[in-house]
Chain length 367, copies 2
Amino acid sequence: MVSVTNIAELETPSLLIDVDRLDANIQRMAAIAKAAGVDLRPHAKTHKTPEIGRMQLAAGSPGLTVAKLGEAEMFADKGFDNLFIAYPLWGEQKWERLCRLADRITVRVAADSLEVVEGISRTAARHGIRIRVRLEVDSGAGRTGLQSPEQVLELARRMESLPGVDLVGLMGYGGHSSAAPDIDGVKQIGFQEGRHLVGIAEMLRAKGFAVPELTVGGTPSGPYAAQIKGVTEIRPGTYVFSDRTEVVMGWSNLDQCALTVQVTVVSRPTATRAIIDGGSKTFSSDAAVRSPGFGVVRGHPDFSIVKLNEEHGMMEVPAGTHLPIGTRLQVIPNHACVCMNLHDRVAAVRGDQVEAIWQVAGRGKVQ
Amino acid sequence: MVSVTNIAELETPSLLIDVDRLDANIQRMAAIAKAAGVDLRPHAKTHKTPEIGRMQLAAGSPGLTVAKLGEAEMFADKGFDNLFIAYPLWGEQKWERLCRLADRITVRVAADSLEVVEGISRTAARHGIRIRVRLEVDSGAGRTGLQSPEQVLELARRMESLPGVDLVGLMGYGGHSSAAPDIDGVKQIGFQEGRHLVGIAEMLRAKGFAVPELTVGGTPSGPYAAQIKGVTEIRPGTYVFSDRTEVVMGWSNLDQCALTVQVTVVSRPTATRAIIDGGSKTFSSDAAVRSPGFGVVRGHPDFSIVKLNEEHGMMEVPAGTHLPIGTRLQVIPNHACVCMNLHDRVAAVRGDQVEAIWQVAGRGKVQ
């Protein structure tokens, strides 16, 4: 790693994380969780970076959430000892890895089918250990998750006779809040998610199941779901940086966004077109909710990144704009999580000063 | 690397390259170039993989094209000695890297501004070397490139007095062929690109500039541009795999696609919904030209991947489909180049047999 002290010395394109903004976002969500009396278990898929995970733990979180076993193994290697894998794991290799991980650290895992639970059970029994399972319910996002209270009860009953697995809670996810028209719609989805989970938990408890852990997800809806009595944990991820989508959805304003891509204008083909040296391999092609284009240029609301090729960003600027080749810009991405996942390292900065280069150690851990 | 002999032993999601299909695609484009009497300088941004680049050289290519210096440095490290960087490089650090690279191998670079050419010139003069420059013209794609023959002539004249740079040719790019309604439209754009470049070259030659190299780009349009007398080189990239977009545009059929993502069904929440263990961090969010959804499931035209989250693919299947959790599928991605760039390694397969694991050594080389 070269010794760099100012962002002007970094080559472009390069990812910058403003650590003051990062810390403010971490403290803000920690305060929300504390006020609601719930655990904050941040989803680390957003950053995949041990240094940031440690800041989240320092702010009071008991542990992190991850999507993939490979992310969990990376964080365990870096000393994290309490992880929730919010994903249904399938296959002998993955169940083996899960059990080896559970030998090292405290791990919880999601499941939404008997098939997955049986696989985990069989492998855990062979290892002579017990795995904590949270059953996932579909909160309305239309993704994974059991579809009805009856399905949850049936699977909970089947689990009673299975060795090696403990039903410790329920998991919901308000991902459909991205389709809400405004922050009030997000709030309603958060409330619904919380009530839905609590309702199923009460039914299970009436049948004799303890289900102490009720975890809900998502940056914009999670803080609202947390206000429903009975919810015990929230798992927001993107809050840590925020991004253009979270701004549109109402979580933060643009100034609070901590992650930017530093780019350079490398071509000025016409008076109204400027080409930046970042494209879909730098930002990703993810669209922002209810917004055209591919990111917001900090300090230049009149610039529009209208199209991305792989390594080119096509930017429209007003005629007469003084924007020579070589100008550096900072772009707030549409979606921070997929942007981070394209990069091996990121510069932690305070103002224009580079304080550290962090490895995105979980990047590309798709397995 | 674990020793794996059958794709069933690979964890998912995992990238598979069918080497028979890969080789057929390589041979097919090589034959097209040979028949047209032009060089084929494949754009290696598609694969970023030395093993594949070597197959392309073995099929008769004089060298490769890359988009980024970091890609060029990687290929040079792997023994490639003739590279074209089809990108305007800006900044002292990049010009220094370019000159150090030119000390090692034969390198050409694109430029479309006096600013970039002057920077390269200054640095090359300091190194006591000469850099081969191809001036980029905008063929209609609306990306980088000089906008008129007059601009090209003016920059060519300015270059005559600059040390350290040699004008060796012109570069075009028919990227707007993706907006053509059908293969006939693609063909017309290819022809136009070729004629446009040849026309500017003839004007320059009348003014005393040699411009021996006329390079045109793109998988679907390049083969047509190559048919214009005077074009000397094509730079297609995606042809090597093909993908859903290239199928829609008419380059190949689905069976010829060499790159797939092997995924597993990890959840069956409803009779018509299946969740696969690959999302936007596995496939990318790139849309396919004129097609909804996120990839084609090989052998299952009735399955639709309707939405991606980061690690989840939401698939709709006909009611009554027997598709249990644990089923493995192979998905042809919308856009091979960005999909490859998300993965550290890929399995080279023949049928169901894994012949090798290749490192995607240029992945993430955004600088």
